[in-house]
Symmetry: C2
Subunit: 241 residues, 2 copies
């Protein structure tokens, strides 16, 4: 069964779940994929730890992974890009496998930008400083364009606004960052913090929503494995998924 | 911690979670209430069992309650009105307490219709046949107006459409039922199936969304108990909640 390590933040978790259920097209309740969510937002701030220090979120992340495994999760999606900084510390024989969000984004890039080209990343300061995308994405194919220091700080401020429910103010900040990258020649911009699409939610083929990419990856995992349910309970993988 | 017995259906669960996080206003992730969700939609159809027989969903419901308890839930919300038919079989010393959805609706009625008066219920045929609302709501204060057989069948059809993602077709059916009750003198209409507000989502003071009522009840529970977190991690109960 799919587990979701959520609460980072709670709104981003709901946004991910909405995308998951929408991607998992089904006619009846019983055909939908099962999942369990642990949304315990009392996990120390990921981005702050990476950029400033303080309480390490790793023990809380490990606890969440263990609890999801105990509750029946065999794979886990983490709708928080920054948390993937701790990915290598969350892999182990006692823990469910993680469907890595950067791999999910790479799957989407292979579909929408198969010819490759420069891309840009909008993320928390923590995701940026930890080089979560830089260290895992194929940069020969999709080189990551630099963001300026003030751009990185502004996006971080926008993310804080989303967490406080101030979506309109956040939207303006994100749109400005997207426009700047478009003008400098990026072929796509990755919304690489799960809070960003909660504000920047207009469809735009220039934008790749990491949350949406992760949801599609989860549905594909379910279709491929049937997760132990009889095949009759799942539908064939559609071309669009 | 709050547990959510979800998956009935998956879209309704996401709608409930969105309302829960919105009602739980907070400035940072860490101030938000923690919750765990078990959304395993392979629970036999509740409404069909009540109206036609077949596989009893009770064992799957009990399993879900036990698993939530094992995962740390001390109270459970069930965003499925029909499932409350089994409420008395889901109460026991080995199971977390259920925040009953009809009690949550009664709380809302006490706020918006304190003078009392006739109300109407839009629900699945199962919720209607099982008299989930009739058996628990104070009908001296809020007498429940009859729905006709064709009205009950039409709403049931609309709910099936929501589960299949056909929201526009469902919306038209629900709007017609609401208008009929308004003309016959109801003072409020309860959207008493968690699929209905997923389609009928325009604000209307005449409508009481049972999903929203349950979300508000959960936030109130969290604020009242602090769920073992230090009071500093929660904010005071605001007048609006």
């Amino acid at each position: 069964m799919l587990g979701i390590l959520g609460g980072m933040g709670p709104l981003a978790t709901v946004d991910f779940l909405a995308k998951l259920v929408a991607a998992d097209e089904a006619e009846t309740d019983q055909q939908h994929m099962p999942f369990i969510v642990r949304a315990v937002p009392q996990i120390p701030d990921r981005s702050r730890y990476i950029t400033e220090g303080g309480e390490n979120p790793l023990p809380a992340l490990r606890l969440g992974m263990r609890e999801l495994g105990r509750a029946g999760a065999s794979v886990v999606a983490i709708p928080c890009n920054t948390a993937h900084y701790w990915y290598s510390s969350l892999v182990g024989p006692d823990l469910p496998e993680i469907l890595h969000i950067v791999d999910a984004v790479a799957d989407r890039l292979a579909e929408v930008l198969p010819e490759g080209g420069p891309i840009a990343i909008l993320s928390t300061q923590g995701t940026h400083a930890a080089r979560v995308y830089e260290n895992r994405l194929d940069q020969v194919r999709w080189p990551i364009a630099e963001s300026t220091g003030p751009e990185i700080a502004a996006v971080g401020q926008g993310i804080t606004l989303v967490k406080a429910g101030r979506l309109d103010a956040a939207r303006a900040i994100f749109a400005q960052a997207v426009d700047a990258h478009r003008e400098r020649g990026a072929k796509a911009v990755i919304l690489a913090c799960t809070e960003i699409p909660a504000a920047l939610n207009e469809p735009d083929p220039f934008l790749i929503d990491a949350t949406q990419a992760l949801a599609l990856r989860c549905v594909r995992w379910f279709r491929e494995t049937h997760h132990g349910f009889p095949p009759a309970m799942t539908r064939p993988l559609r071309a669009a998924s």
